[in-house]
Symmetry: C2
Subunit: 131 residues, 2 copies
Amino acid sequence: MTETHAGEATETGVDLAFDEQGLLPAVAQDAESGEVLMLAYVNREALARTRETGEAHYYSRSREELWHKGASSGHTQAVEEVRVDCDGDTLLYLVEQDGGACHTGYRSCFYRTVDGETVGEKVFDPDDVYE
Amino acid sequence: MTETHAGEATETGVDLAFDEQGLLPAVAQDAESGEVLMLAYVNREALARTRETGEAHYYSRSREELWHKGASSGHTQAVEEVRVDCDGDTLLYLVEQDGGACHTGYRSCFYRTVDGETVGEKVFDPDDVYE
């Protein structure tokens, strides 16, 4: 990977309305099946890295750092397209998900109903993936 | 509609992690096509109303009030299922969308790429719907 040219990759055709923390929510959707996989947050740097590399990057609010999704698990997301909503304050990543999006081993983080019924598909054992 | 029994409808099987403003992001997805329609925010009351009535309710951060989606436009969302993500801080509404989700007339609020290319389907003329 070449040196980051943040200036280029942060230029978007649509003005983005980052919040007071400099973040936007980004929904990741499986580009083929349409399954909603997860929601995370991005800052300008994460969006720029995503566009430069073609792999989904987010900003981890808990770790307070740039987060290359799948860097530790291998479960990366190849980003086919980035969409933005009408008021520019939410992104939609259309991705090809390697393995599962969720650290619990499910394909999607939305593997339960709000009543607690499991409806998602488990695709890996977290003990095999995370140390 | 009968009197609100907030105590019942706010009890969820999964503990929800509302943020410091008492809100959670909720992604609305077309239950049939899988299209991601919009992202908005809910508080406990909006979630309770959604579960009581079967129609999507959100909390409007700009108007600072409960928002029954489609109340003015007629473009309501019948909620088939409410899912929650692994850490309980995002909801997914699986909906049957009447008309279009977006006030601009598009079926989905995500009708553009971040570069500004229009990729969504326009389904109504806002001038015919909003005064």
